[in-house]
Subunit: 115 residues, 2 copies
DNA sequence: AAGAATACTTCACCTGTTGAAGTACTTCCA
DNA sequence: TGGAAGTACTTCAACAGGTGAAGTATTCTT
C-alpha cells in the first residue's frame, strides 16, 4: 500500500458518509464522485468500497435497498442513518485533531519548549 | 483501533524520521518527544515503535548503534540516513497531498461542478 | 459481434498496529 | 531495606482494513 493509501486507510467510512449526506447513492456512483473530487488522484478499489458498505451497515450508519429495475445493471442504494450522521460529525472532529497532530509531528523546526 | 490511531497508521515512520532529523535519539526519548509535541494526546505503543525501527532500518532509512554504557538501562540509538532524508521529503509531500484530498472529501458542501 | 462501461460479490493475502508478557537496570521514598 | 515507579528494549500472536484477482451480469458503443 502506498503512503497515501495508508493515510487514507480508516477514512474510507467517513468519505462514504460524507457523500451520502448529499442524498442516497450507490457504490459505483460514490466512487465516481470520489474520483471527481480528487481530480482522479484517488478512488476506491472495488473490494475496499464494498467491504466498507458492509461494515457501515453492520454498525448501523447506513441502510441499503435495491434500486428500481431500470436500464443498466442492478444497483444497491445506500442511505445514511441518524446514527451515521452523528458518527460523521465525530469522525470529522477526529480528523481535524489528527491533522494538527501530524502537522506538528512532521515539522522539523518545531520548538520542543513551545507549549 | 480508534479513528485517530487509524489515520496515524502508516505515518509512524515519518514521525520517527522527523524527530531523527534533529539528531540521533533512542526509542524511549523519541516517544517522549511525540507525547510532548502532541500535549499528551498521542504516543506510540512500544510494539508499534520498535517494529517501526526495524522496518526503517531494513529499508535503509535509519541506522542503529548501542549507546555508551552509562547509568540506566542500555539504549539503542538511531540516526537517519541520506536515503531516510529523501524518504522523509517524499512522505511529507504525500501527507500534504493526502491532507487536501481528505479535506475535499469530508466537505459536505463541496460543489461537484467545481474544478 | 466485440469490447468498454456499468455494477456488484467473494476470497485469500498483506501490512501496520496492538495487547500482553517478559527482561533488566535505576531512582525514589517510606 | 524493600517495593513501587520509571527507564529501556524485545518478542509473539491476534486483529482490522485494504487489495489483487477472479467471477457474474447487463448495457452501450462502434
Amino acid at each position: 500500500m502506498s503512503m497515501t493509501a495508508d493515510t487514507l486507510r480508516g477514512n474510507t467510512d467517513t468519505i462514504i458518509l460524507t457523500l451520502l449526506m448529499r442524498g442516497d447513492s450507490y457504490g459505483y456512483e460514490i466512487n465516481k464522485s470520489v474520483q471527481r473530487r480528487t481530480k482522479g488522484e484517488y478512488g476506491f478499489k472495488e473490494a475496499t468500497l464494498y467491504t466498507a458498505f458492509k461494515r457501515l451497515e453492520q454498525n448501523g450508519f447506513i441502510r441499503s435497498y435495491w434500486g428500481e429495475d431500470g436500464p443498466g445493471a442492478r444497483r444497491r442504494y445506500y442511505s445514511i442513518t441518524e446514527e451515521g450522521r452523528r458518527q460523521w460529525e465525530e469522525n470529522v472532529r477526529d480528523w481535524e485533531t489528527t491533522r494538527s497532530l501530524l502537522d506538528a509531528l512532521f515539522d522539523p523546526d518545531y520548538d520542543d519548549e513551545e507549549g
